[in-house]
């Protein structure tokens, strides 16, 4: 092979590969939520079901934040919130105007993400259950998971208020 053809072929191939890597990375950054697996994080929660048509009730809740705006009883699924490590989707069960159970699905691959999520989500869940709102503190080392958790929980709460 001559030098010129080698230079052209080598450069073009390399550039094409790098360009494809860029395109591939851009495509991954906006994934659909389909590939996420759900973690069995909330043993109290039931399998996510379509939002039930529970009767509206304005039961006075025990906790102040929850009392401010009444929640309908039922199971409500928040919109998935995607961060760069994958989506988080929160499903809540409301009974008597209170959040009684909470479960979050999250990405389980790669292993780092799983490790971060499996550590952070139980903490977030506990906080949310006790606060009865989406005002939960960020778990350190899990900034993105915490943010997505809040967003998704907010949308689940919004669904419960409707």
């Amino acid at each position: 092979m001559r030098r010129t053809s080698a230079a052209v072929i080598g450069t073009v191939t390399s550039a094409a590969l790098i360009f494809a890597a860029k395109l591939g990375a851009d495509a991954v950054e906006t994934p659909d939520t389909g590939q996420t697996a759900s973690g069995d994080l909330a043993p109290a929660a039931e399998a996510p079901a379509p939002a039930s048509k529970a009767p509206a009730s304005r039961a006075p809740g025990g906790k102040a934040p929850a009392r401010r705006i009444g929640l309908k009883d039922g199971v409500f699924k928040g919109a998935a919130s995607v961060n760069q490590y994958g989506p988080i989707q929160v499903t809540i069960r409301v009974a008597g105007g209170k959040i009684t159970a909470l479960r979050a699905t999250h990405a389980t691959t790669p292993a780092t993400t799983r490790q971060v999520n499996t550590r952070a989500i139980p903490v977030l869940r506990q906080e949310a259950l006790s606060a009865q709102s989406a005002q939960v503190d960020t778990v350190s080392g899990a900034t993105f998971t915490s943010g997505s958790f809040r967003t998704s929980l907010q949308s689940a709460l919004a669904a419960a208020r409707r």
Binding site: M1, R2, R3, T4, S5, A6, A7, I9, G10, T11, T13, S14, A15, L17, I18, A20, A21, K22, L23, G24, A25, D26, A27, V28, E29, P31, Q35, Q84, T109, P110, A111, T112, T113, Q115, V116, R119, S140, G141, A142, T143, F144
Partner: protein
């Protein structure tokens, strides 16, 4: 300064009988020794020797058979002309015809470009998937370094295996010499990047999960798929890397080193799983995973092709066996190998095969030896110097012994020269590929044959024959390295005395490491460009 350099005699031109190298072996073999003796005797008696001083060194002799050929005659150079003006090799023709390497010069460039392109792509997989904003904290940065070094390590590992796959396009495009050199060089970087990957990733994960490094290591082993294999692979790599340190490796037998080094294939298998199960870039569908899988597929198929299919095909087609074993000197022996379809053998002078003599001592070993004669359709010849136990045993190989060969390999060929003219410097057993190359190089080629003494010279008669038939200038530089002649050879002045136009020539070097080092230093002083210099396949 004016002392005659009596140790640079030209090829003795006194013998007119040129043995035909392609016909009966025994006739040649029998005549070789006596011919050589005549040459040396005549040289010793000062007969055909040409003595020359440093300045007027290239005065052609009237009785020199080469006086009538080539540029010297064409340019009408007189006996007293300054060598620099009288010796433009092949004159204007050199510029008209393009040098042969133009056709193959791009091969190596392509490989190098693709290597860096793929290297950049591998790093790019991480770069493009990691927006700078995510590298906000200490833990993220440490993990990030762990991930990018992981991509680099994974890529370099595949490169390492590919370079050792013996696949023919790499062996003839890059050549075994550079493949080994690159393999050694990249091996160091591979070890560094894998260790950095393991260390940074573990520490980064530990920082993220607020656990200790020890706890995190345990978590990695217990909770993560394929991670035990990955740690084992890293351990093997450290072990092999430690053994590869020159001082350590010299102390152990080559066989042991070789077998231990083969365990590195386990690294490929053990390290594979965690790249896909835990690798952030590769765990999801998309270009990254496709690209990485394709790299693995390429390397594995080259490995199978180069290590299994090509050798089997080659040996089934040619069915090589030893025809004759001829001693060339006290320590060197030529083995003639015959076989089927040798006219279809696509080997060139200067290339080498990896030979395995079945049924001889050490049949399980394969050793690289250059062809010492250009392939001629009837036989192949290799010439070995009895340097070790194995090579000494080769002198006892019986005719009829089956031979399993792999090859050809190497870029030490006439085809790879970037100029038309050539200078060949051979030392000791390094004469073997040089002798073969002479059959494919043009007239005006100069050979400098460095040997310890007259008794160490091999192919004396063949060189003389080639000198006459093909117009090749053979100079012997005899003596130990401390004697004035050899010392003068490897100085810019001494080199220019023999070859005034050395900068316009390709230089082929083959010989002991010390000689090659000295020659490289001299050539570098003479500002001969590196791409004009060709090193033999075994001079590591």
């Amino acid at each position: 300064m004016t002392a005659p350099l009596s140790s640079y005699p030209r090829a003795a031109p006194d013998r007119q009988t040129v043995p035909d190298l392609r016909t009966p072996l025994d006739a040649r073999g029998a005549s070789a020794a006596s011919d050589l003796r005549t040459v040396l005797d005549s040289r010793a008696s000062g007969g055909p020797r040409t003595e020359f001083g440093p300045r007027d060194g290239f005065a052609p002799r009237t009785d020199d058979p080469r006086a009538g050929f080539g540029s010297r005659a064409a340019h009408g150079a007189s006996a007293t002309a300054d060598p620099r003006s009288a010796w433009p090799p092949a004159g204007g023709e050199a510029r008209e015809t393009e040098p042969p390497a133009a056709r193959v010069a791009g091969n190596r460039l392509l490989i190098v470009l693709l290597f860096w392109g793929m290297f950049a792509t591998s790093v790019g997989l991480w770069v493009f998937a990691t927006p700078p904003s995510t590298l906000s904290g200490k833990a993220e940065i440490v993990t990030g370094i762990g991930r990018v070094t992981g991509m680099i390590g994974g890529f370099l590992l595949l490169t390492q295996v590919l370079m050792m796959s013996r696949v023919s396009w790499l062996e003839t495009w890059i050549g075994g010499h550079d493949l080994i050199r690159w393999h050694r060089w990249i091996g160091g970087w591979l070890l560094v990047s894998v260790l950095a990957h393991a260390g940074y990733t573990t520490v980064g994960y530990a920082l993220t999960s607020r656990s200790s490094v020890v706890d995190q290591t345990v978590t990695l082993w217990t909770d993560y798929d394929d991670m035990v294999g990955a740690f084992t692979a890293a351990g093997i790599m450290v072990g092999v890397g430690a053994l590869a340190i020159r001082g350590v490796r010299r102390r152990m037998p080559y066989e042991l080193w070789h077998w231990l080094h083969l365990t590195t294939y386990a690294i490929l298998i053990l390290g594979y799983g965690h790249q896909f199960s835990a690798g952030a870039e590769l765990s999801e569908e998309g270009f990254a995973r496709l690209y990485w899988t394709a790299l693995y597929a390429l390397v594995i198929s080259c490995l199978v092709w180069g290590r299994v299919i090509e050798p089997l095909w080659f040996n089934l087609r040619h069915r090589l066996c030893v025809m004759d074993v001829v001693p060339e000197s006290d320590s060197m022996v030529s083995i003639y190998v015959g076989g089927r379809n040798l006219d279809r053998l696509e080997a060139r002078a200067g290339q080498y095969f990896r030979w395995r003599f079945l049924g001889a001592r050490g049949w399980w070993q394969s050793h690289p030896f250059s062809l010492s004669a250009a392939p001629n359709g009837t036989w192949l010849r290799l010439t070995v110097s009895a340097a070790g136990r194995y090579t000494a045993g080769l002198g006892l190989v019986r005719p009829g012994t089956r031979v399993f060969a792999c090859g050809p390999s190497g870029t030490f060929t006439a085809q790879h020269r970037v100029r038309r003219a050539a200078l060949l410097i051979a030392g000791g057993s390094g004469i073997a590929p040089v002798r073969a190359l002479l059959e494919e190089l043009p007239r005006g080629t100069v050979v400098v044959y460095r040997a310890g003494g007259p008794a160490d010279i091999v192919f004396g008669d063949e060189l003389r024959g080639l000198a006459q038939r093909r117009g090749i200038d053979v100079r012997y530089v005899l003596g130990s390295r401390d004697e004035p002649g050899p010392r003068r050879l490897f100085t810019p002045e001494g080199m220019r005395e023999i070859v005034p136009d050395v900068k316009q020539r390709d230089v082929y070097l083959c010989g002991p490491p010390g000689m090659v080092r000295a020659a490289l230093a001299t050539l570098s002083d003479l500002r001969v460009r590196r791409r004009q210099i060709h090193l033999d396949p075994f001079e590591f």
